[in-house]
Amino acid sequence: MERRLSPAAFAVSALVMTLSLLGAAVVAPQNDYYRWQELDHGTTRKADWIYERLHFDAEPIDVALIGTSRTGGGLSGPDIEAAYCAATGRRIRVANLSIPETGRNIHYVIAKEAMRAKRPALTVIELNEIEARRQHRGFVALADVEDIVTAPIIANLNYFPDLARLPGRQAVLWFRTLTGRGAVKSKFDPAAYQGHDLDRTRALPLLDGTVVSRYTAAPRDELDAGRASRTEARAGMRRVPSAIRKFEHRVPRYYLRKIETLAAENDRKIDYAFLPAWGEGALPRALTDDLGVTAPVIDLGGRIAEDPGKWLDATHVNAWGAAELSSRFAAELVRRHPALGEKGCART
């Protein structure tokens, strides 16, 4: 005799089994390298290189730069290394681990992975004039399960969407792991590796194979229009009622403190670097105070924010702007941390 369930028993058992299956998917084994291949930015990729640099490249990392595309296109690791060498005679390895788009949660994920794999002596976190309310969309692609589940709930607009997506992500990664087929590569290929000194300040390679030169300056009216739209967006953000204003940056604060704690636990240093936008070269003290930034800030703002020849668009410097920022950054690095890396370098 076939056993039939009552409607309520059927519904409850189906839902319990659904949740159990989703739970099982969450704990399914998966390949971390494949996970770091899951994030692209439409026309570019960076996360898989970050994982390769951290795990498959024997070169140590002395300075890890973590930020958005402003840092990615604004600070050249090789230029900083050369300037530091010229000034101190010491060889350092600078890895630009920045990833496009904003969100402190992904900065934490990258910092955590960097600390786990390379323990860089100094981690530099980007600051700019605006702090996004919505966290990085790539967090759910790159973060490990624990970080997604234990992310802050209050004021975190991404928490529930990320949590809902987690079983699917894990199921896909489990399938990829099972079939040995990552989104981009099945295994690390040294021949295809872009090298330890990946530098996107001069040119940006796109996924379709084209390379976009950054030796170009945007017209001033375009820069002004970009600044106006940014100002408008910021005006919208100010409309948070004063009663809940203190929650506005709760999530970025949470992740910045996590990064600082991580560095302290590993006996490593944290600095911040202010990367300006067109027309906004002043370090936003109120914002850094609100974010609870107490570590030193390398201020890269100032006159470059008013020099139209240095900008690719209203948010990103071009190759000439990057050369200036990298030079200033290296000078600050020399001043604040003169003993990084190791003695002996080829002064060119």
Partner: protein
């Protein structure tokens, strides 16, 4: 909210079901119906509040016209009320859906520069206006309209069918909503609803959406004028043929499943159309409620079978052409409608003048007829999907071009093969479930395929859970149902 997206699956649907059943458990049946109406407004308002206001205004206007058309007023006045409502509905659809298309074509003819590009199409407008047109005509014909505004509003806005059908007749929905407010629900419907919903979710998220993600770049390339090789063109065409099948079939299953979960049966709208042996049969299986609507409210008013074979065929052609244009305001839809109109007219003509073709039966005949039908339907889908006539022609040219430069993903090919096998050879989900649309008839113990295959057993619960879990796992990148665009 899309049925296959997290806001619907994890927030709207659980809250609606909990609220609905909590009220019923407390003995507040009427309140539970009010709650369902409120939930339907929330469902629609989540897209656009101004469009929700438009929907409410449309409901109010049609309700008033319907009341008058069904009243004891003189026939001419009732007719006037009915016509006013019909014209108002058509005007609304024209304004939002066709004004830009008509205006830009007229402007091109006149050499003028008229643009109406700021008009945003309200979701489901074709469905809710046409459903109300049918209601008004029925009110006038039968003098029997809905008295309760709440039930009328729910008839129009009932969230499982509001955006993309099935198009429901008032006489079908009315007793069910009335019963909902006064009678106990049959709890057996809940497992059936859940099972059918899970099958629909799986069709949408596990078959239709992955195929769409694989072929969308090919259609985009065709739209930008890139030449397509044979492999790309065939993948695009066959892929879309399967995508729209599982997209619409999945939607229809989810709508029926949702209806059952709140005690309402919806009409069957999809019945394995790719298993049809003729284009007439195809349209009895694809978007069945639209076909019925076109028959009752377009074909018959045009004259139907009256006036001899020529007029009958003309009426068939015009009806199908209107059906094509109903889907969208673009030349591609006109061509798609014209292809189907021509095919169905030829099919009827063949029945009239070549009856031996109709009598040609047997396995070989079936195979030939099905292959010919599928070929014609697939070519027509190219116009339906393409972003412009030139993009459609780029795909069609690609079908006979050399197969260079594109290698389909083997996983996508395997998925397409699996989908094709399901569409062509497997019993459909409603057959599997033994679903009967007539609300007065119980869900049978014996289904269309002998013993009913779906019973609320532990195994069925496990299968439902697997489909739900798989559907939920991949629902993080939901795609809008294709028919939501119409």
């Amino acid at each position: 909210m899309v049925f296959s997206a997290y806001p619907f699956l994890l927030v709207f649907l659980p809250l609606t079901l909990v609220g609905f059943y909590a009220l019923r458990a407390a003995g507040r049946r009427r309140m539970s119906v009010n709650f369902l109406l409120a939930a339907s407004f929330v469902f629609y308002g989540a897209w656009s509040l101004p469009h929700l206001a438009l929907l409410i205004a449309s409901i109010l206007a049609n309700y008033c016209c319907g009341r008058y058309a069904a009243s004891s007023a003189p026939k001419e006045r009732r007719r006037l009320a009915m016509l006013a409502g019909v014209v108002g509905n058509l005007g609304l659809v024209f304004w939002f859906k066709y004004l830009d298309f008509a205006g830009s074509n007229l402007a091109a003819l006149a050499g003028a520069d008229w643009t109406f590009r700021n008009i945003v199409l309200p979701l489901g407008i074709s469905f809710f206006t046409f459903q109300q047109i049918a209601y008004l005509v029925d009110c006038y014909r039968t003098r029997d309209g809905e008295r309760r505004f709440r039930d009328y509003a729910l008839f129009v806005t009932f969230f499982p069918q509001l955006i993309a059908g099935p198009i429901v007749h008032h006489r079908y929905a009315r007793p069910q909503f009335a019963a909902l407010a006064s009678e106990r629900l049959n709890a057996d419907w809940i497992p059936y609803g859940l099972m059918i919903f899970a099958m629909g979710l799986a069709k949408k998220t596990l078959i239709a959406d992955p195929i769409a993600r694989a072929i969308d770049p090919l259609w985009a390339a065709a739209a930008t004028g890139d030449p397509l090789g044979a492999a790309a063109a065939w993948t695009a065409m066959v892929g879309y043929t399967l995508q729209i099948y599982f997209d619409f079939s999945g939607y229809c299953d989810m709508a029926i499943g949702l209806g059952l979960m709140v005690g309402v049966r919806l009409p069957v709208n999809f019945n394995s159309p790719y298993r049809a042996k003729s284009i007439i049969d195809f349209w009895r299986r694809w978007h069945m409620t639209l076909s019925a609507f076109l028959r009752d409210y377009v074909y018959i008013p045009l004259g139907g079978n009256k006036g001899g074979a020529f007029f009958r065929l003309r009426n068939i052609f015009l009806t199908m052409l209107i059906g094509g244009v109903w889907h969208g305001a673009a030349w591609t839809f006109v061509i798609w409608g014209a292809i189907h109109a021509s095919l169905i007219t030829l099919n009827h003509a063949a029945r009239l003048w070549l009856p031996e073709l109709d009598r040609w039966r047997g396995p070989a005949a079936d195979a030939v007829k099905r292959a010919a039908l599928l070929g014609a339907v697939m070519i027509a889908w190219v116009y339906f999907r393409a972003d412009g006539v030139s993009a459609a022609h780029a795909v069609l040219r690609g079908l006979i071009a050399p197969a260079a430069g594109y290698a389909p993903d083997p996983y996508v090919l395997a998925l397409m093969a699996f989908g094709a096998a399901l569409a062509l050879f497997a019993p459909n989900s409603l057959e599997v479930a033994g679903y009967v649309e007539a609300p007065e008839r119980p869900i049978p113990r014996e289904g269309a395929h002998g013993a009913r295959m779906l019973r609320p057993t532990p195994m069925a619960a496990a299968a439902t859970a697997i489909l739900l879990a798989a559907g939920l796992a991949v629902a993080w990148r939901p795609a809008v149902f294709i028919y939501f665009n119409f």
